[in-house]
Symmetry: none
Subunit: 207 residues, 2 copies
DNA sequence: GTTTATATTGTTCTTCAGGACAATATCTTT
DNA sequence: AAAGATATTGTCCTGAAGAACAATATAAAC
């Protein structure tokens, strides 16, 4: 199976050539339409907001080639875009800058007739399919339940994006105390910093 | 990562040893509870109607071991059983009699932090999930539209909570360049730091 | 052909976040 | 009475983030 990279920018990334010694890059599909007899693995390099291009390319490939495999390489992986690509017939969707080892892995799985997805997307699919997504607001509530009263007050302010100094002034305590409550909150919630805390406490994904 | 096969019948199948030269078989979890310090890949061999055993075993493993990986080997693969196992925390589900090549593939994907599913199950998941995963809010789309191509790529990674160093490695540019794109993004979006950026780009409130 | 937007990288500096050691006071539970 | 959870504050240190000055290359637009 030969590897064709379709990349509008027409530049071969290092991780691609690292994964496929025989990698060939084409700026567009039309450039490769000449030889159609071999079995190809197409790697479509998709920029942000190029969903239309993805759909059109997949449909064209499926129409014009014999038993093609298609992987979408996304600069900014997006779950809805991944689902779109896969539902159109792609058998893989991953980050364009994935290290060579990962790309080799993708190639192997696909050449064995498999489908390759990233871990996050897969787990999201599983969650959705199982009907276990549940209330994220419940999830947030459960997280907050792990904190003490004062820790909650500090955590929710931090999750709004306030600095330690601002929180200290707001709650009329020293900055050191804010840090103490935050460190404790990080540990209880299993996050590493305030950004992760903010993402956790601001997750509204299931209304 | 060491491979432990938990098989109530206590017999090592040929395809297992073919995939893992270091394969070790235990009849039950309790037999292996002695040494907990290494990182293990657990292969749970599930007979028909052993869903309860699967759930209990996964929960026990996740509780008692450090960063464990769990694959369920099913004698009679079943989609609902697969979803159950995966939602409990397993990272793989495949046929117990899969050929060694496939098991090696599973091992590789999992050791890289991935999740492995069979093709049919995966496509089933995609089918039911398409249309269920929401799109970005208009607000987020409008924000992203204010950024250049490269700025978007950097910004979305930062919004996930990645550090500049991680983003630099991911996009194969220097940390300085990441900072440049981020600073520019901050200005264009009118936010003061990456936390505000994350809150803006992760806002799913107006779906 | 000059300007403008984009992408890239360099150095230095300041500020902030968070961990590593802390200690003390109050209150509840056993 | 002793133990444990909670709330508070101190100092020192490391590393990351972001601004402040930069510069260079390229491609599109005028």
């Amino acid at each position: 199976m030969r590897n064709l990279f379709i990349c509008p920018r027409n530049n071969l990334l290092g991780n691609w050539s690292g994964a496929c010694s025989d990698a060939v890059v084409y700026p567009s599909l039309s450039a490769v339409l000449s030889s159609k007899k071999d079995e190809y693995l197409f790697w479509l390099h998709a920029d942000i907001d190029s969903q239309q291009w993805i759909v059109a390319s997949i449909s064209q490939i499926l129409r014009d080639f014999y038993n093609p495999k298609i992987v979408v390489l996304a600069n900014s992986p997006d779950q809805s875009e991944a689902l779109l690509a896969l539902s159109q017939g792609a058998v893989g969707y991953c980050h364009a800058y994935s290290p060579p080892e990962v790309l080799v892995e993708v190639r192997t799985v696909i050449s064995h007739g498999g489908v390759w997805l990233g871990r996050e997307l897969l787990q999201r699919l599983i969650a959705v399919s199982t009907g276990l997504v549940g209330n994220k607001s419940r999830q947030v509530a459960e997280s907050l339940a792990l904190l003490t009263q004062r820790e909650k007050e500090v955590a929710v302010e931090a999750a709004k994006g306030r600095s330690n100094k601002e929180i200290a002034k707001l709650l009329d305590i020293t900055e050191r105390t804010v840090k103490a409550h935050l460190s404790s909150s990080f540990e209880r919630l299993g996050v590493k910093d305030r950004l992760q805390l903010a993402l956790l406490l601001n997750d509204k994904s299931s209304r």
